[in-house]
């Protein structure tokens, strides 16, 4: 077909719809003037719009000049019918733009607060206009579901302690995955009960989204249970990987049958969803608590992908865009986290952490001895230092020492000591978690430095204060290739002139590896509870 003919066709189409609009408008006017005549003073009607005059004169008038005699039910309904769809489309588009801009703003500490608000506005707009979506029923059910879901989520989100943030993210993420799977389920059940086919592409994406979404759902619930310490041990049994593979294989097989069949029988659909849920549980069970952040981040990316697929099923561009953006951003974030933890993603997913670590280095190879110090001496040492670098670990957060630590920082700054915080990427329970915990205590983020930013400064530092951190300052990661943490980037605390380590007892770190830093000549051990020891240091500094 040539372009001219195509163009003419398009013009004809446009003209028809224009005609329709003009007719609708006239009818609307008639109805409203009728209404006004009945209820109030008459309004002088303007000259009627010429309906029959074609807009493009050198084209033949379309033959489809329908002369509808049935008046529209109600002016308001007519307006919703004419403008509902474009308004929804524009609002979804706006929401997608706000999400991307919000995410961009969230990647810099200066604008991050604005970022989440922008994204929130986008979400609110998208949710509100969805009530005007065409052919919707069950409004009461929707409203009840919104209230039932929103209230507890809001309540818990407002109250959860900052230390428990990782599992909170896990559970909210799991809910998103579950919702994506539920959308797929409704669409697949609907095509069976109402006897229509989605078409191969849509059916495939619905099944894929269902698979990913329910794995993310049940997997995130296990991640939550592990981080919340409801479930303490990692479940490892013989032939586990084989069993997982078999279950995954059957689930995929059922998925393929559902795609081919189009209108799949209900029991088959139920079996498929159950298997995917079980696979999510089995896949997450053997993964240790320390690797959970990477897993949560991965499930976050997967949920995004599932949302994008279901967005395709529903023809919803906002879901496709937002889901895909989260899918790719989440994948990148997962890689960054895995890299920071010196673990590959495959390693995290397919081997329990306990398998490689836990081997304790032969004690006899450790040179030197542990040299204790008391708080007043340590305080004096810090007060007369030029620069102090504080290295907090998760132990600090467990001891709730961050507020006292900030007070100590202020006291030292008053004595013209430069204080900096050095954060290892895996400090806390996920990358960036420690920053949140310090921020909660009031430590400004420009005092906090990454490993790359600060490692060169240790050699010019008088005192490095290690509190609640262990493996991330162990020099063995640089020197001993046989060590399980060999190659992991560490904070070079041992290069500082003096090192003070606050530690509860003599035990080894979380990986069970002896820390060579504690035996170094320039290291002094300050034994005791983190919060109490920092309070004593503060006292000592203030006394001077």
């Amino acid at each position: 077909m040539s372009t001219a003919v195509e163009l003419q066709h398009a013009l004809e189409k446009t003209e028809t719809s224009l005609h329709q609009a003009q007719q609708d408008f006239t009818q609307l006017k008639q109805i409203s003037s009728q209404y006004l005549a009945e209820t109030g003073p008459t309004i002088q009607t303007e000259t009627p719009i010429p309906v029959d005059k074609p807009l493009v004169t050198d084209l033949p008038t379309p033959s489809t000049q329908a002369t509808t005699t049935v008046p529209p039910p109600h002016p308001l309904q007519q307006i919703l019918k004419d403008w509902g769809a474009p308004v929804i489309e524009i609002s979804y588009f706006l929401a997608a733009v706000l999400f991307i801009l919000g995410l961009k703003k969230m990647s810099s500490p200066l604008t991050a607060k604005k970022g989440i608000i922008w994204a929130g506005v986008g979400m609110l707009i998208a949710t509100l206009v969805t009530f005007g979506y065409p052919n919707m029923h069950n409004y009461t059910l929707i409203l009840i579901a919104l209230v039932i879901g929103a209230l507890p989520a809001w309540w818990f989100a407002k109250r959860v302690a900052m230390t428990d943030m990782p599992q909170m993210i896990a559970i909210y993420n799991g809910m998103g995955g579950g919702a994506a799977a539920a959308i797929a389920a409704v669409e697949l059940f609907r095509s069976t009960s109402q006897g229509f086919d989605h078409g191969l592409t849509v059916q495939t994406l619905a099944v894929l989204g269902a698979l990913i979404g329910s794995v993310s759902f049940s997997g995130s619930l296990i991640a939550f249970a592990k981080l919340q310490s409801i479930m303490k041990k990692s479940w490892i049994f013989p032939h586990q990987k084989l069993l997982n593979l078999v279950i995954f294989g059957i689930a995929v097989l059922l998925g393929i049958i559902i795609v081919i069949q189009g209108q799949a029988p209900i029991p088959l659909l139920i079996a498929f969803f159950l298997l995917t849920l079980i696979f999510g549980v089995l896949m997450t069970l053997p993964i240790g608590g320390a690797d959970m952040p990477v897993v949560i981040s991965l499930y976050n990316a997967l949920t995004g992908l599932a949302v994008a697929f279901e967005g395709f099923v529903l023809g919803n561009a906002a879901m496709i865009i937002a889901g895909t953006v989260v899918g790719s951003a989440g994948t990148l974030l997962t890689q960054l986290m895995a890299k920071a933890m010196n673990r590959s993603l495959g390693n995290v997913l397919f081997s329990g952490f306990g398998a490689t670590a836990g081997q304790i280095v032969d004690e006899s190879s450790v040179q030197g001895s542990l040299k204790p110090i008391d708080a007043s001496d340590a305080g004096v040492m810090m007060a007369y230092a030029k620069q102090v670098i504080i290295i907090p670990g998760y132990g600090m957060a467990v001891a709730q020492a961050q507020h006292k630590l900030w007070e100590l920082t202020k006291a030292l700054t008053d004595k013209e000591v430069t204080v900096k915080f050095a954060i290892h990427p895996v400090a806390g329970r996920m990358p960036g978690h420690m920053n949140v915990l310090l921020a909660e205590a009031g430590v400004p983020y420009d005092m906090i430095f990454d490993l790359d930013e600060i490692n060169a400064e240790f050699s010019q530092t008088d005192v490095a204060l290690v509190i609640g951190a262990n493996d991330v300052v162990n020099p063995i990661a640089r020197t001993d290739p046989s060590s399980p943490i060999y190659g992991m980037p560490i904070l070079n605390a041992d290069y500082a002139k003096n090192v003070i380590v606050i530690k509860r007892g003599r035990g080894t770190g979380f990986s069970g590896i002896e820390n060579y830093l504690f035996y170094a000549d320039n290291t002094r051990m300050l034994y005791g509870d983190g919060q109490k020891m920092v309070a004593e240091l503060l006292h000592a500094v203030k006394e001077l």
Binding site: I100, M106, S108, P109, A112, G115, I117, A119, G120, M123, A126, T127, Y133, N135, M136, H137, L141, I142, A145, I148, G149, A153, W154, A157, M162, M168, I169, Y172, G176, G178, A179, I183, V186, E187, S193, N300, G304, G315, N316, A317, A318, I320, A322, V325, V326, S328, A329, G330, T331, L333, L336, P425, G428, P431, G432, H433, V436, A439, E440, G442
Partner: protein, 98 residues
Amino acid sequence: MLAGFSGFTAIYIFMLAAFTGYEVISRVPVILHTPLMSGSNFIHGIVLVGAMVALGHAITPIEQTIGFIGVVLAVGNAVGGYFVTERMLAMFKRGGQQ
């Protein structure tokens, strides 16, 4: 279906959105990893819109039940994700700021 775009348009959207997501956070500092993960977790809460439509189109009791669960889960994702992220980000401040 509202938008009714063809398969290829969807693939274009998919590809461009994937690049956007990657570019937007490729230079993010480690200090923001946790809030950013939480923020992106909130953004896929847009699944709420789809869950509402799915429940709105559900007819049989089993569809309505699953749709209902879907909306409950989705709104939990959106609301919980928002307030958790907002709480974390509200704490970040620079020196001298109180």
